[in-house]
């Protein structure tokens, strides 16, 4: 049985009368990359902040590495690397100063590792933090979170502001660490990266977790999105079709069933073009948020 790294039990957080999150239950195992998605204000950041004890739960409990997130917060943070969605450091510092300070907080951080990460992410340590672009500040956040070889990484929108090359390098690094047993909690609006790299995904909406699924479950290969260009409108009748829309001589629908049956049906009508696309996480995700 996999070792549980994060265990959230009935977590609720209220800001006065306003609900931040309610009855969140979540278990994340060692070595998992867990995607955490949901619209703005859904409760993602509140959950992360409660995990790191920025916020005190109104009720419920969070255990990380079997330790209590409130009482043992310091012990937990010795093993957790955190990248916030908005990066704010001390503007008067140079990148090198911040890394030196960060280094002093953990045992066994080597300058060699810092230099390796700076080279990997193409970051100049001699620059002042207030002179850095948004993307470069994000790199600082990523390096400070990785330099001490944490066992759990909590990343909130880590690729926001990074160019595609650096994004790939980041995920290569994360996948390498995953193989070494590191657990990664990834909150993101970039559904493609969640789909590509995560093992499971939790969807949060209105402060509640509405679903937790394995990515291969969510991105159901049996469901396709079909778009057909037609000469004239037709009545398509086949089991497994849903969400049928006809607009501008284009018929689009979702199809769950055997492709051969679909093709047989289509061969009987006059079709200009056909596109059959596997349903992406984005489509699934938007389904969750549909009215």
């Amino acid at each position: 049985m996999s070792k549980e790294v994060i265990k959230i039990k009935n977590l609720s957080k209220y800001y006065g009368n306003i609900m931040g999150v309610k009855d969140i239950n979540l278990t994340i195992n060692q070595g998992e990359i867990f995607g955490f998605i949901g619209p703005n204000g859904a409760g993602k950041s509140t959950t992360i902040r409660a995990m790191l004890n920025f916020l005190f739960p109104t009720s419920g409990k969070i255990e990380i590495f079997g330790l209590d997130s409130v009482k043992d917060s310091n012990l937990i943070k010795e093993k957790v690397g955190y990248v916030p969605s908005e990066v704010n450091y001390y503007d008067y510092m140079k990148v090198r100063d911040l890394f030196n300070f960060n280094k002093s907080l953990y045992p066994n951080v080597t300058q060699k590792e810092i230099d390796r990460l700076c080279k990997l992410f193409d970051l100049n340590q001699n620059r002042k933090i207030n002179k850095l672009s948004f993307g470069n500040k994000k790199k600082v956040a990523i390096i400070q979170a990785l330099m001490f070889n944490p066992q759990l990484l909590i990343f909130d929108e880590p690729t926001n502001g990074l160019d595609p090359l650096i994004q790939n390098k980041l995920f290569d690094e994360l996948l390498t660490r995953q193989k070494q047993g590191v657990t990664i909690f990834l909150s993101s609006h970039n559904l493609r990266e969640v789909e590509k790299y995560c093992d499971r995904v939790g969807i949060v909406r209105n402060g509640k977790i509405i679903d937790v699924k394995k990515i291969d479950q969510l991105n159901n290969k049996n469901i396709k999105k079909v778009v057909i260009k037609l000469m004239k409108k037709i009545n398509l009748s086949l089991e497994g079709i849903s969400d049928l829309i006809y607009k501008n001589k284009e018929l689009s629908f979702k199809y769950k069933g055997e492709i051969s049956k679909l093709l047989n049906t289509l061969s009987e009508v006059e079709v200009l073009d056909v596109n059959i696309i596997p349903l992406s996480l984005e489509e699934d995700f938007l389904d969750y948020y549909g009215e």
Binding site: Y15, R49, L52, N53, F54, L55, F56, N74, L75, K77, E78, V80, Y82, P84, E86, N88, Y89, Y90, Y92, M93, F101, N102, S104, L105, Y106, Q144
Partner: protein, 272 residues
């Protein structure tokens, strides 16, 4: 290491405040020889004679300062320096925690294996050191001035007046910390610090001018023991005594404020 980080943040501001206050006291004290001349002294004394006694009391001038005596002149000038030092201390306290929450850099510290009490301790120690630094700069400037004015006999009292005035400065500084730990960011911290200070200062002035409102003097730590009283107490002049209750209130504010800051901060939610 955390204190070093704080010191680096605060040092520039401390040097600016220390520099300005030192410059002011040097300039003021440079006027002493001309103020001490008999004609001018007479003029000032006659003008002050027309001012309401209460107003003079509020400045500690009820016994009419004799500008011919260096220490009396120094204490008069030092009233304004103390106002500057209190404002500096109060702003420093009020911004200490709130600024970091406003800048959101606190999110970085919170994600590290650093206890919240360590964060408070580093801020308290660093800002205390900054107040001492600014005070030391002013003290050194005052002492240097005495050499130019051939008033080196006054150095002992000058040091005592500086040290004694640390008490109300630290009381305001700690009230600033209480505000800082309650505030969610620093956008209103300077306005709050200045309003509070000038509010209490005004209360002190009113309490000295209106007899019926004399009890209000306890709401104004800066007015508990004016520098001139401190000087006269240490020099045994006119049997002037110190306001011991005022000193006790300041000490309670400093200790109570420190305890409150730790307790509140350890339970505070971070909104950023």
């Amino acid at each position: 290491m955390l204190i070093k980080l704080e010191n680096r943040k605060n040092l520039k501001g401390a040097l600016i405040w220390g520099g300005i206050l030192s410059f002011i006291i040097i300039i003021y004290l440079a006027f002493f020889p001309s103020m001490a001349s008999s004609d001018f002294s007479e003029l000032i004394n006659s003008k002050l004679g027309f001012m309401p006694e209460g107003l003079l009391e509020s400045f500690g001038l009820n016994d009419m300062p004799d500008f011919g005596v260096f220490l009396e002149y120094f204490c008069y000038v030092f009233q304004f320096i103390i106002i500057g030092l209190v404002i500096y201390g109060m702003i420093l306290g009020t911004k200490s925690i709130a600024k970091e929450e406003g800048d959101k850099s606190i999110e970085y510290l919170y994600s590290k294996p650093i206890k919240r009490s360590q964060i408070v301790t580093s801020k308290i120690i660093s800002s205390f050191l900054m107040i001492i630094l600014v005070m030391t700069m002013v003290l050194i400037s005052s002492i240097i001035s005495t050499f130019f004015l051939n008033e080196t006999d006054s150095i002992k009292v000058i040091v005592l007046v500086h040290l004694f005035n640390l008490i109300p400065i630290l009381a305001y500084w700690m009230i600033g910390f209480i505000f800082s730990v309650i505030l969610r960011d620093d956008s209103k911290s300077i306005v709050l610090a200045l309003s509070f200070f000038f509010g209490t200062y005004l209360i002190g002035v009113i309490s000295n001018t209106v007899d019926k409102l004399n009890f209000l003097k306890y709401f104004s730590p800066i007015n508990y023991n004016p520098s001139v009283n401190v000087y006269k107490f240490f020099e045994n002049i006119n049997n002037v005594s110190l306001n011991v209750i005022g000193i006790i209130i300041c000490v309670i504010l400093i200790i109570g404020g420190t305890i409150f800051t730790y307790l509140y901060y350890n339970k505070k939610d971070l909104y950023c």
